[in-house]
Amino acid sequence: MKEGYEVVYKRPKTLLDKRMHYCPGCFHATIHKLLMEIVEEMGIQEKTVGVCPVGCSVFAYDYMDIDMQEAAHGRAAAVATAIKRMLPDRYVFSYQGDGDLAAIGTAETIHACNRGEKFTFIFINNGIYGMTGGQMAPTTLEGQKTTTSPYGRNVQKLGMPLKMAEMVSQLAGVAYAERVSCNTPANTRKAKKALKKAFEIQGKGLGTTFIEVASNCPSGWKCTPVESLDWLKNKVYPYFPLGVFKDVPAVKEEV
């Protein structure tokens, strides 16, 4: 600590002092950090319960100093639903990958959103199955190569990438849905703001909150972390635009 200087940014304490297993440059880690900053800032460590299903983030409970449940693949929304219903004054979030939330867990996702379950979805859309070694996800882009689409995703045969934030926005139970990213400091700050807003709306019990992160996977995409930011900008955002898709509280305020 240098004399005459004060700290303007430091690692949040709720992010345990443990090296995360994520690959270099992976936004999974970024989002973990932002989440723990929010928990700290909102002072809700005692009231927060997280749910992490399988996916690269299955070990999230090793890093966050909060109560957590691991969930079976695709079932985080069902698990979070039950926790939130049993403990309605807690802050509950599910933290899910695109394989988890948009493939095997589609039914649980749609129905939790439709029921308006009052927890926060944190949806890490990296367009690939990171954990299992880079297979195609429902959000893999047209032409994108993965281990199970080695010649590029053929949308004639496999369909177009699913836009989950847009889809759940159509459901009455969803209060807030936004797609964010972390490719620049500005976007990362926005991502944090969105996450915080989701938690605040959750606190008011206004409905389901859904934050989709247009995330990266340098390992699965077979590129460097820095290159992954270019891929995001050039390929991902054009198809998965960042922005707010639904904001019921804001609309209500306007009226």
Partner: protein, 74 residues
């Protein structure tokens, strides 16, 4: 002129992704390509201490929360 800002980077915590490096507006960070930490990774370090403006962009970008940012008091 003493720098407005200053950063501390955990050498072992850094994974060498370079996201801080490319987003530093003052270009004061670099990856140490001649050395690795115990994980075999080239870590980032404050190469040009005097131009850091304590904007914290690097820290915000760092996935692994390896960076602490300081600002001159007053």
């Amino acid at each position: 002129m003493p720098a407005k800002g200053y950063v501390e980077i955990s050498m072992e915590g850094c994974k060498g992704c370079g996201l801080c490096v490319i987003h530093c507006p003052s270009k004061c960070l670099e990856l140490n390509t001649s050395d690795t930490n115990s994980y075999g990774l080239h870590y980032s370090y404050l190469a040009k201490e005097d131009v850091c403006i304590a904007c914290a962009n690097c820290a915000i970008m760092c996935p692994d929360a390896a960076i602490t940012v300081y600002k001159k008091v007053g």
